[in-house]
Symmetry: C2
Subunit: 220 residues, 2 copies
DNA sequence: ACTTGTTTCAAACGTAGGTTTGTTTTAGAT
DNA sequence: ATCTAAAACAAACCTACGTTTGAAACAAGT
């Protein structure tokens, strides 16, 4: 019927709905209705609603890791040390690559990360950790080298402060964008996400480089 | 039956379940079962599940604003200028006051904020903004005075980067705490939240004080 | 002791969710 | 033209949800 196949239509519709409503709040009837396919199509092609979510997850996370690692390989010579801002810039570019395929991809991806940290979702969390943690370790090692010196647990928490800024901002980007325009002047739409990602860089960079209070008391 | 009344038992059970599962994922049957009250009790005492959520919301947000403003009044002399770290310290203390009444209060509160920023929840969002924004403006003005000089929209986004760190970390505190203990050594439980809130202060402070890139190009 | 208003309870209601079924349609291979 | 496997479809299924009902238990005032 449409120019794209049924599974592809389903994924497109699901991503749009997941981005604006979240996973639990989106029903398969909404998805199939929007995709203009039969109600049973999701179960036929993806097994279940959960299967659809996992398919979308893998579709985004794998390219993200690829892009991030290839940027690290190409930008980092054998002895060159990247700055913290450069590393974060790479991360943001990798996110933008993910987004380039679908306007809603970043919101969906960030909602997926939020979901993975919920208490009930050990399954999804362990799946993501087991499968993608090693692909991010390289990046994290560089990131830590450029951060202020700190204990392992301190870095763990700062990493999640950073992750929280990203997930919150990008998951709810549509709402935040509306709130901003309601308060201030209007801006062009096309480059909005890029702009916000770049606004994050100096903030996150400063957060990682800040000296923690604990160091005043420990170590020497 | 229990030492506390039925509505209070319901609220306690609901807060614990909301904290670990979220609102949509928690059913009234789970709540009433845990509270050991009849299934119909929520509708009888709170009208609906939504009414229960709103009751819990108001129960926490009002004391938070009170505490924050009273700390500002008592700590700030007529001409004394608070440092950024002092302001954030006040915010964290206000959060801890909210938590002191109930161990799960902070997670519930943060989940509520996340909910308010979702696209579907204009009702809740406008309610919170209309009712509590003015009570926080005083704090925000001081906060901005101590931040790096920046445009209105830049400050808007940094505020939400900060909010994202807080909501993500505290909503999923239980999960993060487990992950941390799985990776590193165990620590005592009692003061964990306090510790993390204080770890946030220098990070958030540095983020607000960081010079934004945009300033390099605009204004003089 | 009787009435009255409030609270509790077991049971059922109605709806909306994800999923399954059995049939029909489609399209490529023989 | 016929056969066959994949895909699409309408309809039903079953479960779980929030909510409602009406009777029973309770408490307090008179």
């Amino acid at each position: 019927m449409s120019s794209k196949g049924t599974p592809s239509s389903i994924v497109d519709a699901a991503e749009a709905l997941f981005a604006e409503q979240g996973f639990a709040e989106t029903t398969v009837r909404q998805i199939t209705s929007r995709a203009k396919v039969n109600l049973a199509a999701i179960n036929y092609h993806f097994g279940s609603k959960k299967g659809l979510i996992q398919a979308i997850a893998e579709k985004f996370i794998t390219p993200l890791c690829n892009e991030l690692n290839s940027q690290m390989d190409s930008s980092l010579g054998p002895d060159s040390k990247p700055t913290l801002d450069e590393l974060l810039e790479m991360l943001m570019r990798a996110l933008l690559i993910v987004r380039s395929e679908n306007r809603n991809a970043l919101s969906v991806f960030m909602r997926l990360l939020e979901l993975a940290y919920m208490a009930n979702q050990e399954e999804l969390r362990d799946f993501l950790i087991g499968r993608y943690k090693s692909r991010l370790d390289h990046f994290l090692i560089y990131l830590r080298q450029d951060s202020a010196p700190m204990e392992d647990d301190e870095f763990f928490w700062r990493l999640h402060f950073l992750l929280g800024s990203m997930t919150f901002t990008l998951s709810n980007f549509h709402t935040l964008h509306s709130l901003e325009k309601r308060q201030f002047s209007g801006e062009q739409e096309g480059t909005e996400v890029e702009l916000i990602l770049h606004r994050m860089i100096p903030v996150l960079s400063a957060g990682l480089q800040a000296r923690g209070e604990k160091l005043y008391f420990s170590k020497i």
